[in-house]
């Protein structure tokens, strides 16, 4: 049961949230200009990082806002949370991978 800090509501149990997978996969502005391969890359391909990972959460049983988190996918440590549209804070990989 992770403890997740919603940027609007503060720290809450994981059960209040819905997971949204990898962050910063923007929907292409002009899908029609993409090749099938490029479209498939947007649709399906994932980085699936082992380590420091930028991901999306939705405070679905709370304020219902989406936000981003930077979490280590082995230690599960949450290193930062930031609002949609904000630049991801810089995380020293070495520090988190300790």
């Amino acid at each position: 049961m992770l403890l997740i800090e919603c940027p609007w509501c503060g720290k809450r149990h994981e059960t209040e949230f819905q997971y949204g997978g990898e962050a910063h996969i923007a929907r292409p502005e002009h899908p029609e200009e993409l090749t099938d391969q490029q479209w498939a890359d947007f649709l399906f391909m994932k980085t699936n990082t082992k380590g420091v990972f930028r991901e999306r959460w939705n405070h679905s049983n709370g304020c219902r806002r989406w936000f981003n988190a930077i979490r280590h996918t082995v230690s599960h440590e949450i290193l930062a949370v930031y609002k949609m549209g904000d630049e991801p804070p810089k995380i020293e990989a070495g520090e988190a991978d300790k």
Partner: protein, 416 residues
Amino acid sequence: MAKYSIFSIARNALNNHQDWPRQWRSPEPKPDYDVIIVGGGGHGLATAYYLAKEHGITNVAVLEKGWLGGGNTARNTTIVRSNYLWDESAAIYEKSLKLWEGLSQDINYNVMLSQRGVLNLAHNLSDVREGKRRVSANRLNGVDAEWLDAQGVKEFCPVVNISDKARHPVLGATLQRRGGVARHDSVAWGYARAADARGVDIIQNCEVTGLRREGDKVVGVETSRGFIGAKKVALVTAGHSSVLASMADIRLPLESHPLQALVSEPIKPVIDCVVMSGAVHVYVSQSDKGELVMGAGIDSFNSYGQRGSFHVIEHQLGACLELFPIFSRVRMMRSWGGIVDTSPDASPIVSKTPVKGLYINGGWGTGGFKATPGSGWAFAHTVAKDEPHKLNAPFNLDRFTSGALVDEHGAAAVAH
């Protein structure tokens, strides 16, 4: 390979079991191999075995970063079945089940396949429709399948609660009698021993840290024990598929999630088959040791941590007690987590890659154990011939571009 039998046990008992040979050698890696298989789990070891047995390719190394069979092979709920909906899935899982049925004899290692029957419960009309659809498809695909109504479920598995007062009442179930369970560790050990006997080098504590390429062709792997050359490299690292593939700059449509399971204390036999319920997220069987073995749904978030969140277990036990109220006073003895790499269509990737000589087998999600023999068999063919067998051709990487997914999620349980 020293043959195992009741006679060899008796013979060895006479001299206090001092002369049993190692089940597999512990060789130093050679400078190069025809094929390197990355990942010493069930699928990787099966691949090595069938490469040697079916294709005569024995200059093979299986590289395992930890102890063999220590990943998902050691962590699953051991269910074996082949009653998948789509033709493509049914074909490869049924091939697998047929191999299971002769496996103990083939590799001279008792993997304790126990064909006790697998029930997939239906809890609403949509489940019933889907269940019947699957039974119909299975039959035409030559996969044994039956539909049981609620009373039939009760007769087959008397401890299931079929009260229509239940929150999610049991309306019926599909039954595959040839489905069941097997002993997970024995599968890894048996394949390891049989592959080793055919000359395959099984190298534990050897972590692959990079893939070396020349041009568009793979030439070997960097490991914690140095560079090892190879004409072909096969990645079979369920859970970590993306990590290995990224070493060749290949992105996969996979996400790694925790999948948790648990066992109860051993009790006298109470349930004689496997019961699965997708709708309430639980599957249950009883092991030969007497433990109730249960699995849950995956945890929502990406993780390589081999552990999940406890509310998932609590939810699962609530669901379990809905189906089996008499288990309430039975106690959870041990819980654990594995890492499953889930694909968009809940089907695996058993495929060539854009890199010549590099092959990948992964994305089995929550259902890889049952596929172990079939996956290894088809993948061995793919590696040996440099082209997929027709069994795994549908499970190529290109399907994500063409859209030809093999979507085993089933229909969403939705109606007006």
